[in-house]
Symmetry: C2
Subunit: 624 residues, 2 copies
């Protein structure tokens, strides 16, 4: 106990020192959780081989309250894994010690800082331990009281209970104060206890600054069976420094030098020689799963198949070769067709119910434990998890998102169910991949490409059927495109993807009858985009016309314009520009002017306008 | 009771008829809630003047389970407000009877269909009744059991209890079956009761097909004081048709003609003459609040003021003239500076805690009750509510979103706190407005423009200070822009907004010293965009360069490219293209190549490249 107290003092010293040095950060939110974390790491509870952070049987620790990063880094400094000099680089350019934890720091499992996301990630890691790797490691999540207001926390809480995750231990740091003042429940610990118990969790209420109570709580937590545990700890924000303790107005503020000196005087003697030891884990590994060969797909050309169907089939078909693959779905697997995989490999499928934020967090947790999660729901409902998707890029998450029911082509169900901003959303992800296959073959190929690619991939699928247009041997590399029609006299380049590719093909035939020839490009990879092919086509034709079943902003039209920014070619865009209604898919494609008829009209219009005329001298000629 | 039974049979008949006619829809999810809604509307509970749907004292009803739209429309058909002929237009083009309810139908308060959003909207309406309009109307929300998995529901539940909304009555239709199978808790009504009670709600558990129990529950619910009430009703999905009852596999499926005839036979005699009466409300109106004149703002040119500060001041300053204005904030009002308004008008401010989805739903509820809600949090955290934001456009929501802490310019806090995809997100909103002021004057003016504009407006504010560059008389119409520098010999057009405008101005000075002149445009209105001004500038200069503190995709660069799609001008874009880090704002602007130095470099580079040379003959000349 005495050693733990000394370590707590040392950690407090580091917290104050690094944040004062940086001139920013959250020392008070770190001080409240100091004993909780010192006891966990150095009190013989946590098992972690710091020489091998990726050891599959390491316990996991997620700082859901990511702003307590000074505490996180200070713990590792106390553990001798970070020099004082390195600690003092906190929040400076190039340092892995960022303002909120990111995976730049080797002992961080997932980037946090947007509140309410850590429990879901922990659920993913705990699911992995219990149902996939079948390893005895435990997952600990440090949770702030303020972030318990986020619904995503309750999604994670309900799912953890549903899956009986007794290897998941939450540590709730109830320090009473949020950023701008008191939290909703203040120091009413019973409020949390009542809610968590009702949701099926074991709860242990303690004084979060008492080492005996904390250690006892961890011991009890580890013996609970069949349910997750939340240790609900009453703590004092700013604990250990009298002028910070339980005071509003100190959130996210570093001490100045003078305040820092005063605070140090209060901490008393700091013993830098105290030896902090973390237990090592048992050297267990998950059962090795060897990739096996897989069957070829079979799709006769011309057969009508929905790409969402091809998605489900592809998952099932490729699984033997990608045995780390896992499927998560938000209670719509019969629509996204993840059910095809679920029925074949029920142990590799997890029902996430109607809770998309948690689903993405769980996927990130699984990805970090070396799995390849495919996450599916309606494209529209992935917007629910934009914050989690955004954050997963800072965790270098290897997650595959699949959004079905894209665009107005879903028809009668109406706009609430139509994914019309999903391309824009996923295009913003740095290094993200955005795929949109037009037929079953492309879908199957791209599902495999997605599984093989390390990083965030989004694939958009279609509710209705489209005819198979590719042969099973056709390769679909990420970043590629397909030129489906091309001749010397092409007047215009038509670019479509998914359903609009088929509209473009139909328009091609009609225009050809009138002597107007077009180049047709299937832009199945919207990001990265095949700039080379687009530029060549743009240079050969008088105008470019993109057609997409998506809002104009951030979609295919803008992606193509960016790719062609250096070309002197008019890029026209047909996209969803009117509030969609409930009606048949054909009617809606017409209404939004993204149908074959609209394409034909638009081609004629742009070949007739002044900009196109300007362009004419550089083109080979429009008809023959 | 007999009359209610007859009405239930009639409503069931209509449900089946309209969905079979449409060939799609959700009859089984409608049948489970039939008695619950028939009793509410026609059992002397609900008070609503259907001749005046906007009567301020009408009770409100939200179908959070929007897929039960056949029930909603059938109720109004039974009430004589919709002819059978009109009912049969369900899900056809141009009909106000869309697949999921939208405001095209006059008795719909808010578009639903993305699950888990209705309770939050109800909280907004109930908050309005209790704290703003001070009217006795009640708000009823029909909730599905499947959607209780959404965390947003629990956000609404906790906030409703916090604000003691005893005028909010939820009706939970526990029909046990979701889309692809059983819900998490099936018919375990106690599971819901336990959770809701723990969150501070009054719960009443009933058989949802027993009129006496339902009517009794409504009566009891209306007498509860100090807390919201959830009526938890055990129901049977597909109730009334033996081959549908409690059967999996019937979600979202209409009966075919043969099945329809069989179902009708089971319903028995349908009495179309039965008179359904809805009570009318007391003719109360909220106290009228007359607009008063407001003070002029005062900002000396050159003073350093953060636009987030100007936002808070503007809200406070304009409030007397816009007395319907309300401010909501997600526990960061000391950062967004909504606190300036809160301190001045505490009765018009509602703390929403760290629960952004619910915050947006509440705003929609308030907007529908005629308020002008300003919703603020960090720009990054608005991504949390993208689904709610997306849906609010289908409700024609009049909501003003304000995202502070935009871009890498926030500095040390790191990427989790940086809004880098907010412009892309809000640009996808049809008819949405996206504003990004560069100084305090522009901010104040645009806050007022936003208050005056009916519809969805997003404003991006900056953490750090920027110098005041505009005079207080300068107008800032939505859709406008400001040409700040311009001369005949301009080589390039530089377009910035917010912090990057100041970088562009600094670059201008440096380039000018080297004899390179630029046109500088402040693109404070990113959507709608001032295409006319942009085109004129593009025609006068050899290249266009946009600079933005936002990811490249969907941002200012792509907006400008779309606006200039018809112009033969290269549009270069400087944007955030590398994973941001923790560091000082200046360091990060440099790192991302959106600083003054990066602009100078890029201008020289593009004036030197081949595309620009091609363009040269059309330009007036690059220097003097």
């Amino acid at each position: 106990m005495e050693k733990l107290s000394k370590l707590a003092t040392l950690v407090r010293h580091y917290i104050l020192a690094c944040s004062t040095q940086a001139g920013s950060g959250h020392p008070t939110s770190s001080l409240s959780a100091t004993e909780l974390m010192v006891a966990l790491l150095f009190g013989g509870i946590f098992r972690y081989d710091a020489d091998e952070p990726q050891h599959p049987n390491n316990d996991r620790l997620i700082f859901s309250k990511g702003h307590a990063s000074p505490l996180l880094y200070s713990l590792w400094a106390a553990a001798g894994r970070l020099s004082e000099e390195d600690l003092m680089t906190y929040r400076t350019f190039g340092s892995p010690l960022e303002g909120h934890p990111t995976v730049a720091f080797p002992y961080v499992d997932a980037a946090t800082g947007s509140l309410g996301q850590g429990l879901a990630i922990g659920v993913g890691m705990a699911l992995n331990a219990k149902y996939l790797d079948r390893l005895p490691y435990r997952t600990y999540v440090l949770v702030g009281d303020g972030e318990m207001a986020e619904g995503s926390q309750w999604e994670a809480i309900q799912l953890a209970a549903h899956y009986r995750l007794d290897n998941l231990i939450g540590v709730l740091d109830v320090n009473r104060l949020g950023q701008r003042g008191p939290t909703m429940y203040g120091h009413d610990l019973e409020a949390y206890e009542r809610r968590l118990s009702a949701f099926g969790w074991e709860t242990i209420v303690i004084d979060g600054h008492s080492f005996p109570q904390i250690l006892d709580a961890y011991q009890r937590a580890r013996s609970v069976s069949g349910r997750p545990v939340m240790i609900i700890a009453r703590t004092i924000k700013g604990k250990g420094v009298s002028f910070l303790e339980d005071k509003n107005g100190w959130h996210g503020k570093a001490l100045n030098r003078e305040e820092f000196e005063r605070a140090l005087a209060e901490l008393g003697e700091v013993d830098k020689t105290v030896h902090a030891e973390i237990l090592t884990p048992e050297d267990f590994y998950p059962e090795e799963r060897k990739p096996a060969s897989i069957e070829e797909m079979q799709y006769p050309r011309g057969r009508a198949v929905a790409t969402r169907d091809a998605y489900g089939r592809a998952l099932k078909r490729i699984y033997p070769q990608y045995p780390l693959l896992v499927s998560l779905d938000g209670e719509v697997s019969n629509s996204t067709k993840a059910e095809i995989f679920r029925e074949a490999y029920p142990d590799r499928f997890f029902e996430m119910y109607i809770a998309e934020q948690n689903m993405v967090g769980v996927a990130l947790g699984l990805a970090y434990r070396n799995k390849i999660p495919f996450v599916s729901t309606f494209a529209a409902f992935l917007t629910r998890a934009f914050d989690q998707i955004r954050m997963s890029q800072y965790s270098e998450g290897n997650i595959k998102f699949v959004g079905s029911h894209a665009g107005v082509a879903i028809g009668e169900d109406g706009p609430s169910q139509m994914g019309l901003e999903d391309i824009a959303m996923f295009r913003t992800i740095l290094d993200g991949v955005v795929l949109y296959p037009a037929d079953a073959v492309a879908t199957e190929k791209l599902v495999e490409e997605a599984a093989r690619h390390h990083g965030i991939v989004y694939m958009r699928t279609t509710r209705g059927t489209t005819p198979v247009i590719y042969s099973p041997n056709e390769p679909f590399p990420i970043g590629g495109s397909k030129v489906l029609r091309k001749s010397d006299g092409d007047a215009v380049t038509l670019i479509g993807a998914g359903v609009t590719l088929h509209e473009a093909l139909a328009a091609y035939a009609e225009l050809r009858r009138e002597g107007i020839f077009s180049t047709i490009i299937d832009l199945y990879s919207i990001k990265p985009i095949d700039g080379g092919t687009l530029r060549k086509a743009a240079q050969r034709t008088r105008a470019v016309l993109t057609v997409e079943d998506h809002f104009a902003e951030g979609g295919i039209g803008e992606a193509v314009r960016s790719a062609l920014a250096g070309e002197f070619v008019p890029v026209h865009s047909l996209a969803v520009r009117r509030k969609p209604r409930s009606a048949s898919p054909e009617k809606l494609l017409d209404y939004e002017e993204i149908s074959r008829a609209a394409i034909v009209r638009k081609v004629k219009e742009c070949l007739g306008d002044a900009t196109c005329a300007l362009r004419a001298p550089r083109a080979v000629g429009g008809s023959r």
